[in-house]
C-alpha cells in the first residue's frame, strides 16, 4: 500500500517547521541585546567605583587617594563585567 498522501504532507510540514525553528534560534534577538549590553557595562562600573571612592573620601577625609584606588577598581570591575557577558554570549 502506498503512503498516505496526507502523512507525507504532514511530514514535509513538520520538517519545515523544525527548520524554521532552528533558523529562529540562530537569529535570536538576545545576541543583539547582549551587544547593546556590553557598551554600558564598562562605563557604569567605572562610574559606581568613582562614586564610592568619592563618598569614602568625603567621610574619611583622605582626599585624593580613595577616589583614585576605587576608580581603578571600578575599571577592573567593568572589564570583568564585559568579559562575563562576552562569555555568556558564547554559550
Amino acid at each position: 500500500m502506498s503512503k498516505d498522501p496526507f502523512k507525507t504532507r504532514l511530514e514535509i510540514a513538520k520538517k519545515k517547521v523544525s527548520r524554521r525553528n532552528l533558523e529562529d534560534k540562530k537569529r535570536n534577538p538576545s545576541s543583539i541585546g547582549t551587544a547593546f549590553k556590553l557598551s554600558t557595562e564598562l562605563v557604569s562600573a567605572v562610574a559606581v567605583g568613582t562614586i564610592i571612592g568619592f563618598i569614602l573620601d568625603k567621610t574619611f577625609g583622605t582626599k585624593p587617594w580613595l577616589i583614585l584606588i576605587f576608580f581603578f577598581v571600578g575599571v577592573i570591575a567593568g572589564i570583568t563585567n564585559v568579559v562575563k557577558s562576552a562569555k555568556n554570549m558564547q554559550k
Binding site: 538576545s30 543583539i32 547593546f36 549590553k37 554600558t40 562600573a45 567605583g49 570583568t80
Partner: protein, 244 residues
C-alpha cells in the same frame, strides 16, 4: 520653532499646580504619557482576553503572541523557578515597550528618554531582586560576591570588584535605555531640522536619512524594551539559582 532639538524633552505642567510640602507633584506631560501607555496596555489586553475564540482576531492574536513571547523569554533565561514573577516582568516589558512606541508618534513625549524614569524602574528591579535573593538564600546570597576557587590573598580585592559590579547593574540598566532613547530622538530632530534649513534643493538627503532613522528607532524602541526585560530575567536568575 524646532531649532533646538532638546526642547522635545521638556517636562511641563498640565493643569493646576499640586504641592505636598516642598514636593511638586503636579500632573505633567510625562505623567500624561505614562497614563496613556498604561491605559493602552489595559485596553488592548482586556479586549484581547475578553472572548477566547479558537480562531483569534487581531487583538487576541497580539495579546497571545506577546504573552508567549515573554513567557518563552523567562523560561529560556531564568528557568521554571521564575514563573511566579511572570506578571511583573510582563508588565515591565509592556510598559517600557509602549512608552518607547508612543514616543515614536510625532508630537508625543518619550517618557523613557528621562533618566529618572528609567532609573526608578531599574532601582526597583535592583532592590526587588536583592530582597528576593536574601529571602530565598538567607545570608548565603552573599556568596554571590565570593567566586569559588579564588586564592585567599586576592579575596578582598575580588569581593570589592564583585560588589562594584553588582552595584553597577541598576546604573547600566537605566543608562542604556535612557541614552538610546534620547540619542535616537535627538538625532531624528536634528535631521528633521536639516530638512527645513536646506529647503527643497538639498533637503532630500536628510529626508531620506530621517526615514531610515525612523525605522531604526522603531527597532531600537522594541529592542531596548526587550533588553530591559531580559536583563531583569538574568538578574532574577542570579537571585533564584545561586551558582556561577
Amino acid at each position: 520653532m524646532a531649532a533646538n532639538p532638546m526642547t522635545q524633552f521638556e517636562v511641563y505642567r498640565i493643569g493646576p499646580e499640586i504641592k505636598i510640602g516642598t514636593f511638586d507633584i503636579s500632573f505633567t506631560n510625562a505623567s500624561l504619557f505614562m497614563a496613556i501607555s498604561s491605559l493602552a496596555i489595559l485596553i488592548i489586553f482586556n479586549l484581547g482576553s475578553k472572548k477566547n475564540s479558537i480562531l483569534p482576531n487581531k487583538i487576541q492574536l497580539l495579546a497571545e503572541l506577546s504573552y508567549s513571547f515573554v513567557s518563552k523569554m523567562i523560561s529560556d533565561t531564568a528557568g521554571s523557578k521564575a514563573k511566579p514573577y511572570f506578571s511583573f516582568i510582563f508588565s515591565l516589558f509592556m510598559f517600557v515597550l509602549f512608552c518607547n512606541m508612543f514616543g515614536m508618534i510625532p508630537y508625543t513625549f518619550t517618557v523613557t528618554s528621562h533618566i529618572i524614569v528609567t532609573f526608578v524602574l531599574a532601582s526597583f528591579i535592583f532592590i526587588g531582586v536583592t530582597v528576593i535573593g536574601f529571602i530565598k538564600h538567607g545570608f548565603g546570597y552573599l556568596k554571590l560576591f565570593v567566586p569559588s576557587g579564588v586564592p585567599v590573598i586576592l579575596l578582598p580585592l575580588i569581593v570589592v570588584i564583585e560588589i562594584i559590579s553588582y552595584l553597577s547593574r541598576p546604573i547600566s540598566l537605566s543608562v542604556r535605555l535612557f541614552a538610546n532613547m534620547m540619542a535616537g530622538h535627538t538625532m531624528m530632530k536634528v535631521f528633521g531640522g536639516f530638512v527645513i534649513s536646506l529647503g527643497i534643493v538639498g533637503g532630500w538627503l536628510p529626508l531620506s536619512f530621517s526615514v531610515a532613522l525612523t525605522g531604526l528607532e522603531i527597532l531600537v524602541a522594541f529592542l531596548q524594551a526587550y533588553v530591559f526585560a531580559i536583563l531583569t530575567c538574568i538578574y532574577l536568575n542570579d537571585a533564584l539559582n545561586l551558582h556561577h
